[in-house]
């Protein structure tokens, strides 16, 4: 059963992707996407009781599997090299040639005998990632069906590019499942590079000048990570004589030489998760259609970096690498939150927030206590759901108002009340208890309390985070008219996905005690003692407690009472906002000079003189560069 499920999770998307590419009929394409997505959701859920397991298929349809991946790997690198030539980017060319040489050297000159005992390994950490990729990923692909139809309608394309688009999106789901299930590091590397290529193709999908430019930037930065990874595994093979990830982690840093490749692996994770100073590729990636941002650039692909470092964490416990990782992650959390304040572009706020949260997960991995690792794992889950929701909401709003600027979303509630309310709910789930993201942050802060550098930066970053989210939610609701509520019309799939993610995020938050016991505790493996006890829905550690279920009940009551208040207020007298008594009959204007109506307005504070990109980016990159040098230099 396990073998079949794993095969479906990794291979089905590849098959479906090819079908989508070949059969260029809209209805059939939608059907394939829906069927593939549903199959992935079901299979990932069925996989839950089987973890942990290992699986080493040696052949694929009679051909040796290792050979297939080897060939595919070189083909992949050659494709990247081709794009390097096509876009005349020397860095991509050099990096892909370097990777080809490294892999040729590794595969044909160094490796003797089998590389690893187990090709695939699935413990609960992988399982959580599979669930995120398969469930959230599929839902995003569902929403992409109506979205892309609208998108192309808007662009007035003569020939639909949807076959290519869905080909890559669905293929990516397979690559994502592959990368988190792979235990053989050459397999991991192949899928890792495949996600890089998917990301490149999707960012450049609209083929505008800026899209191509940003796609190329994403490719070279991620290739840098790929090259670091390739070099690291050569070192590891020299040291240990195998590339079995589980055994590598269990061995731990025995020799001084071994720490360098681990640091290189962490470095490649930083590029994948767009940490400073590599954040620019993720910000540039926001030119892609919104489902792409939701799928690759917030909920799944960028999580590969943090997933991988969380997996490595037991091997680097108490090391200098771990300590600098904690500081680096906390710095990233703070810096990205500060930069988000200066942004009025909604998608860029989401991008910075993603970098910020990924930074916090890195910090958790670096703090490396059981509480911190638990916080990191929970944050991966909840951030994926809520951020995917927020991206899709922004995409939906953008298609209606033709702008992604927060200022233009002022009073969107009047136009599309349901979407606005779902977005506000998403924001609430990002910053307020009893929801999962905040619970993870609570856990992270309590875990980080003993690390003075990390805690100072996390404390400041948390406050900055609250500011940019609250501002946005309020802006959506900023509307002088009141009392009427008429739901807007949206495609069924859009409603299904938005409501599904929103309700899903809420239900998961209530279910945290059970999620913790069933999914997270086994994910901690033998390396960490489970830090919390669960009693009557209360999470309790030796120094803190979070009454999840009681708090959810109280919050639900408070919510219902407040909703009741809204319904009653709808019957109250509704007046126009205060304008010093000079307001005219038209809402929002006052009697100005010569008795002419003047529109009263106020913009949000973006504090560009303090938090503007032009002002901060250089310094932040410099700071991150110093920390990165410290981290890499410290291991030599």
């Amino acid at each position: 059963m396990v073998n079949e499920l794993t095969t479906i999770l990794v291979l089905l998307p590849f098959v479906s992707a090819v079908l989508i590419y070949l059969i260029r009929v809209g209805a059939i394409r939608s059907l394939i996407v829906l069927v593939t997505g549903s199959a992935l959701i079901v299979c990932s859920l069925l996989l839950i009781p089987y973890a942990p397991f290992t699986w080493s298929p040696h052949t694929l349809l009679g051909v040796p599997l290792h050979g297939v991946v080897q060939v595919a790997d070189f083909a992949l690198l050659l494709i990247i090299l081709y794009f390097g030539y096509k876009h005349r980017n020397l860095v991509i060319q050099l990096l892909s040639v370097l990777q080809i040489i490294t892999m040729v050297y590794l595969e044909f000159f160094v490796v003797k005998g089998p590389i690893s005992t187990d090709i695939f390994y699935c413990d609960n950490l992988s399982l959580i990632m599979v669930l995120v990729a398969s469930i959230v990923g599929s839902l995003i692909c569902f929403q992409a069906i109506p979205y892309m139809k609208n998108h192309e309608h808007h662009l007035h394309l003569e020939k639909s590019k949807q076959p290519q688009f869905f080909f890559v999106m669905i293929l990516f789901l397979g690559a994502m499942n592959g990368v988190v299930l792979a235990n053989d590091m050459t397999f991991f590397y192949f899928f890792f590079e495949l996600t890089t290529l998917c990301s490149f193709l999707l960012i450049g999908h609209d083929a505008t000048e800026i899209a191509t430019k940003n796609a190329v930037r994403a490719l070279w930065m991620n290739s840098l990570g790929g090259a670091a990874f390739a070099i690291a595994i050569v070192f590891i093979y020299y040291d240990l004589g195998h590339l079995d990830m589980q055994q590598v982690i269990r061995t731990g840093p025995v020799a001084g030489l071994y720490v360098l490749p681990v640091a290189l692996l962490v470095f490649s994770a930083f590029t994948k998760s767009a940490q400073f100073p590599f954040q620019s590729w993720l910000l540039g990636a926001m030119v892609a259609p919104t489902p792409v941002s939701a799928l690759l650039h917030s909920s799944t692909m960028v999580k590969v970096g943090v997933y991988f470092v969380l997996r490595l964490a037991p091997a680097i416990q108490l090391s200098f690498l771990s300590q600098t990782l904690a500081v680096f992650g906390a710095f990233s959390f703070l810096a990205a939150a500060a930069l988000a304040i200066g942004q009025s572009n909604g998608k860029k706020v989401l991008a910075y927030s993603t970098i910020s949260n990924l930074g916090l997960i890195f910090a958790c991995a670096g703090i490396n206590t059981p509480e911190a690792i638990t916080a990191g794992i929970l944050l991966i889950m909840f951030h994926a759901v809520v951020k995917a929701l927020l991206f899709l909401c922004v995409g939906t709003i953008e298609q209606n108002i033709d702008s992604r600027d927060i200022e233009d979303m002022r009073g969107v509630y009047a136009k599309m009340p349901v979407t606005a309310l779902i977005t506000v709910m998403g924001v609430i789930m990002m910053i307020m208890p009893p929801f999962g993201v905040l619970l993870s942050k609570w856990m992270a802060i309590e875990a980080a309390a003993r690390n003075i550098y990390a805690i100072i930066m996390i404390g400041l970053g948390g406050a900055l985070t609250v500011m940019y989210w609250a501002r946005w939610a309020g802006t959506l609701m900023s509307d002088p008219f009141a009392g009427r509520f008429k739901a807007e019309t949206q495609p069924v799939l859009t409603w299904f996905v938005l409501l599904g993610l929103c309700v899903g995020g809420g239900v998961m938050s209530v279910a945290i005690p059970w999620l913790y016991v069933l999914l997270v505790v086994p994910a901690l493996g033998g390396a960490y003692v489970p830090p919390f006890t669960v009693r009557e829905g209360i999470l309790e550690s030796s120094f803190g407690s979070f009454p999840v279920v009681p708090l959810c009940i109280v919050a639900a009551i408070g919510f219902l009472v407040s909703i009741w208040a809204v319904r009653r207020a709808a019957k109250a007298r509704i007046v126009s906002p205060y304008l010093s008594g000079a307001q005219t009959s038209e809402v929002g204007t006052f009697r100005g000079p010569m008795n002419q109506p003047v529109k009263a307005w106020a913009r949000n504070y973006y504090l560009n003189s303090i938090f503007g990109e032009e002002r901060l980016t250089t310094w932040v990159n410099l700071g991150a560069g110093v920390l990165l040098t410290l981290m890499m230099g410290g291991v030599l």
Partner: protein
């Protein structure tokens, strides 16, 4: 059973203590300014009068925000009385603060909007300070749970003097005292009219006022943790602290948010760092 009593105590403490503190504050402030001032129960009369007024809103979601603010503030105090996790209580009261801002943002009046943004800046200023205070308490007592903190044998003030000053900054901002009463203040003669609260009116303004009383109680409870070993010490600490707040309110003028952010973060961070490093070194 004991828990139910504590919940009831928490729910009652807000309006009773919060209202009385507010009344006393007004009398003392008046005396400092050579006025007689209102009766002690004036805040209760004010709120009762507001509650009896006609409900008027500019946006129905204002009602939601007022109720949610009150709910979160009550919950924070109740959780405190139940001796729950201090960091969690901090996050709970933050929910209330954000709903207050949200309600102001639903109005399009520039007074409300700018008031709301200034309030967000105030939240931005004091939030990290409160986190550092809580971290300091944890480093000393090895727990975030108030039940454990109360069992600590010696007054925290002795080990966390600088963090108490830091708490003082946060307290001044939260109590809407000069020089930090940027978003709204007790007097309606500022440049933003009533700022953040401009478009709250009638019963909803009353709810906001009651919720603010709960916030005051929460902050006083937090101060009380610094001398939790005996009642006399606790009472002296609270009275002295609050009197100091009134003095500061009366001798300072309102400043700008730039100054607030720069000054409070610089002072707060330095003092927190000094105290936290001291605690790390002592471990």
């Amino acid at each position: 059973m004991n828990d139910y009593l504590l919940v009831a105590a928490g729910v009652l403490a807000g309006p009773v203590i919060g209202g009385l503190v507010s009344g006393a504050d007004r009398i003392i402030t008046a005396r400092v300014q050579a006025r007689v001032g209102p009766p002690l129960f004036q805040p209760f009369y004010d709120v009762a009068k507001l509650l009896g007024k006609e409900a008027v809103v500019v946006n129905v979601w204002q009602a939601f925000c007022a109720y949610a603010y009150l709910a979160a503030s009550v919950l924070a105090v109740v959780l405190f009385f139940l001796q729950s996790d201090l960091l969690l209580i901090f996050f709970t009261q933050a929910v209330g603060a954000l709903f207050l801002v949200g309600g102001a943002l639903t109005s399009t009046s520039p007074f409300s909007q700018i008031g709301a943004h200034r309030e967000l800046l105030q939240i931005l200023t004091y939030e990290p300070l409160l986190v550092f205070v809580i971290i300091g308490i944890y480093l000393e007592t090895h727990s975030f749970k108030i039940s454990d903190i109360l069992r600590w044998p010696e007054p925290l003030l002795l080990k966390l003097p600088f963090l108490f000053v830091v708490l003082g900054y946060a307290l001044t901002i939260k109590l809407r005292k000069s020089p930090f009463d940027l978003s709204t203040c007790h007097h309606a003669h500022q440049e933003l009219v009533k700022g953040l609260l401009t478009d709250y009116s009638g019963p909803f303004l009353a709810l906001v006022e009651i919720a603010h009383w709960f916030d005051v109680v929460f902050l006083l409870c937090l101060c009380a943790l610094f001398w939790a070993t005996n009642w006399v010490g606790m009472a002296i600490l609270l009275v002295v602290t609050y009197l100091l707040e009134i003095v500061i309110d009366n001798v300072t003028a309102r400043m700008t948010w730039r100054w607030m952010l720069g000054y409070v973060w610089a002072m707060g961070l330095t003092l927190s760092l000094v105290n936290l490093i001291w605690l790390y070194a002592a471990r």
